[in-house]
C-alpha cells in the first residue's frame, strides 16, 4: 500500500500556501493519483510500472506547484497588503526614527572642545549617536519581519517591510547622486560627491545591513518552520 499523500507532500514540500490549504491540496492530488494508479493496476499493469506512469503523468512538479499556488491564492486584497506590508513597514520606519530621536535626547551629549576638530574628533560626536542607533536596527528589522510573516506575508513583503526605513533615503541618493554629478559645476554649494557616498553608506547600506541582520533570520526560520509543519502534516 503506497502512501500517496506522503509522495505528493515530498514533491510539493515548498508549496507556498498556508498549512491547511497545502494539506488539502496534497490530499486531493494524492487521491487523484491513487485512483489513476488503481485504474492502471486493474488494467493489469505491474505495480512499479503503474507508479512510474502515474508519476510521469504529472510532468514537472515545480510547474504544477507554481500553477497551484497562483490558482489557489487570492489576489492580494487591500487588508492583506495593509497587514502584510504597510503595518510592519510603518512599525520599522517609526521605531527606527523614534530610537534615533531617543538616543539623541537621552544618549551621550559630547562636548566639542577643539574649535577645528579633525579626524576622529570630527566624526566622534556623530558616531556616539549613530553607532548605538545601528545596534537597535536588527531588533527593529526582526520585529517588522515577524509582524509581516505572522500576517502571512510572502518573502517579498517581509523583505520590503524589513528594509522600509532605508527606502526614502535610498530614493534620495538614487535621485540626488546623479543630479549632484550633473549640477556640481553649476551651483554655488560645491557639493562633494564623496559626501554622497558617505551618506549612502551611513543612511542606506549600513542601516540596511543592520535591519536585514535581524529580519532575515526571522524570515528564514519562519519559512523553515512552515515547511516542516507541512511535511509533518
Amino acid at each position: 500500500m503506497h502512501d500517496w499523500v506522503q509522495i505528493v507532500r515530498e514533491r510539493l514540500v515548498n508549496l507556498a500556501l498556508d498549512d491547511d490549504n497545502a494539506a488539502q491540496v496534497c490530499e486531493e492530488l494524492a487521491s487523484h493519483l491513487e485512483e489513476a494508479y488503481q485504474s492502471l493496476r486493474n488494467e493489469g499493469l505491474s505495480e512499479q510500472f503503474a507508479i512510474t506512469r502515474v508519476l510521469a503523468s504529472v510532468g514537472d512538479w515545480r510547474v504544477l506547484q507554481r500553477k497551484i499556488e497562483s490558482s489557489r491564492k487570492k489576489e492580494l486584497s487591500m487588508p492583506d497588503r495593509v497587514t502584510q506590508f504597510w503595518i510592519p513597514a510603518f512599525v520599522t520606519l517609526s521605531l527606527s526614527m523614534v530610537c534615533l530621536a531617543l538616543i539623541q535626547i537621552f544618549g551621550p551629549h559630547p562636548w566639542v572642545a577643539n574649535a577645528t576638530p579633525r579626524g576622529w574628533r570630527f566624526v566622534a560626536p556623530a558616531l556616539l549617536v549613530y553607532i548605538p542607533w545601528l545596534f537597535t536596527l536588527p531588533f527593529i528589522g526582526a520585529l517588522g519581519a515577524y509582524i509581516s510573516n505572522r500576517a502571512g506575508g510572502r518573502a517579498r513583503a517581509i523583505f520590503s517591510a524589513t528594509i522600509f526605513p532605508i527606502l526614502p533615503y535610498m530614493v534620495f541618493f538614487i535621485i540626488g547622486l546623479p543630479i549632484a554629478i550633473i549640477l556640481d559645476d553649476h551651483i554655488a554649494h560645491n557639493i562633494m560627491i564623496p559626501a554622497f557616498f558617505v551618506g549612502l553608506c551611513a543612511w542606506v547600506i549600513f542601516p540596511g545591513v543592520a535591519l536585514l541582520a535581524g529580519g532575515w533570520p526571522v524570515q528564514h526560520f519562519s519559512s523553515r518552520l512552515t515547511t516542516r509543519r507541512i511535511s509533518n502534516g
Partner: protein
C-alpha cells in the same frame, strides 16, 4: 465577437457542462470529459486542479470533502448558481466559434 479567452473558456465549458449533470470528484471529472469527448479532450492533473481551484475562487463551482464507500476522503465539485449562469454565455461563445469555423471551411472548399 469571439473573445480572446475562448481556448481557456472551452476547458471551463467542459468542466461546467460535465458538472451540470451532477457533482463529481477531480479524477472522475477528468475521466468523464475524456470519455464523453472520445479522447479529444483530456485533462492532466497539472491542468485540471489549477483550473478547478481558479473556478472555485470565482465561485462557479464549490468543492466539499466527502467520504467514499471505501472510507477514502475525496473532494467533490458541484456547480453553483453563478456557475450555471456562466454556462450559458460560454455555450453561446463556443457555438459561435464553431459556426465561424464551419463558414470558414465551407468558404475555403467552395
Amino acid at each position: 465577437m469571439i473573445g480572446t479567452g475562448v481556448k481557456r473558456g472551452t476547458a471551463e465549458l467542459a468542466i461546467l457542462s460535465v458538472l451540470e449533470d451532477g457533482p463529481l470528484h477531480g479524477y472522475e471529472l477528468a475521466r468523464r470529459i475524456e470519455r464523453q469527448t472520445k479522447g479529444a479532450l483530456s485533462f492532466s492533473l497539472a491542468a485540471l486542479y489549477p483550473m478547478l481551484y481558479r473556478m472555485e475562487q470565482r465561485r462557479w463551482i464549490r468543492g466539499t470533502w466527502e467520504a467514499s464507500a471505501s472510507g477514502r476522503r475525496r473532494r467533490c465539485y458541484r456547480l453553483t448558481p453563478q456557475g450555471k449562469k456562466k454556462l450559458q454565455p460560454l455555450r453561446a461563445e463556443w457555438s459561435e466559434l464553431f459556426q465561424a469555423l464551419r463558414r470558414l471551411t465551407k468558404a475555403s472548399h467552395a
